[in-house]
Subunit: 221 residues, 2 copies
């Protein structure tokens, strides 16, 4: 019996994306099977960790053979919900928004960008990749017509809650939030935050940690 998905620890879910990325790279190299050991090594993990993470979602892999690359890719995409194309819209056509609009990897991972919106009238009509920036007034209709389930918010912190409210009203089910502020949504609309300065802070913390352990090491010598 696999546990309910809500009980899968978040780090294990994060590693699913890593496994999928590695497996997709193996597929490109026409590798057909891989052992948990080799998959683990390529990601600096233990093979026990890989097996445990995947076991949350079912029985994969065969003793002596390992994982079959293509079936495991298919299964991981099903688990992540990216086995079908997920229509996604983008709010905010500034520097970051414009980089995200032309981020080709989203498409290769199953996310189709179907609309870009900005509240600044000066940006409306601007071309961004294959899309034209639309005014926020078009949001409801665009979400309905495209069936967009996800939205990426690349807007300033002080606009984030109001934009999130509009996305909820338009019927979006999940929001990837780049604004450095917590937004609240109803229980059935999921928000996933990315704060790029927080990522730099995490790096800084870990570099400091290395410095400290280097000092310890030199003292011990």
């Amino acid at each position: 019996m696999t546990p309910p998905r809500s009980e899968v620890p978040e780090p294990a879910v994060r590693r699913l994306s890593l496994y999928l990325r590695q497996l997709e790279a193996l597929k490109l190299k026409q590798v057909t099977t891989i052992s948990s050991r080799r998959l683990a090594d390529s990601l600096d993990l233990t093979d026990a960790q890989v097996r445990k993470d995947l076991a949350y979602f079912g029985q994969f892999g065969r003793p002596g053979v390992g994982y079959e690359v293509i079936p495991l890719i298919t299964r991981l995409r099903q688990i992540l919900g990216t086995d079908r194309v997920i229509r996604t819209i983008l709010i905010g056509a500034g520097n970051l928004g414009s980089a995200l609009a032309s981020y080709h990897r989203f498409a290769t991972k199953g996310f189709e960008m179907v609309g870009v919106f900005d509240s600044d009238p000066a940006r409306n009509g601007e071309q961004m990749g294959h899309l034209t920036v639309q005014p926020m007034a078009q949001l409801n209709r665009a979400v309905r017509d495209s069936g967009a389930r996800l939205a990426i918010m690349a807007v300033p912190a002080d606009a984030a809650q109001s934009v999130a409210d509009q996305l909820v009203k338009a019927g979006v089910r999940g929001i990837l939030n780049f604004a450095p502020v917590r937004v609240t949504t109803p229980d059935d609309v999921t928000v996933h935050d990315i704060d790029m300065s927080a990522e730099l802070e995490q790096l800084s913390f870990r570099v400091n940690m290395t410095d400290v352990s280097d000092n310890t090491r030199s003292k011990a010598v």
Copy 2:
């Protein structure tokens, strides 16, 4: 006794950035103290969680008073290493690099962008915010002269390892890697990965999970 930093769980370290962000917002509103309860509520956490996370790093907060906002900001910045300006360089002047070069929040969080580099000669000399894109040949000298400790890599996957090698050689201590590939570095150079499509996959997974539990709920009714 606080435990060695290497034993602090990663999620707790991630939350330090969240606490810092909330405290900085409180400081702007001239709030001087906050209870663990109110800090927790604003982040959808329990107050026990907040107290536990902070306790890894020492004694903060006073019973009946809570945390003093400004001293706690100072302490969190020390822990994260951002109490001093951290000079940071950027490799890759494409769409994403150019968005990152003009991402003003890095500066407010203590990261000073001191150089942008790109291997494409066509980009050299381009203006990016207050910086001019330089050729990779200038990297060593620029890192030495500026004392840059961190680097942000916004380069294609197939260039990432070679750029990382050059950064290590130049003396950088930490790399924030936006390329969707694992790079290897010596033990004393820390790499922190951000894969934006993996973040969308995480969101997709959680939206699917909500769908599943909605279904369960309707079946139970």
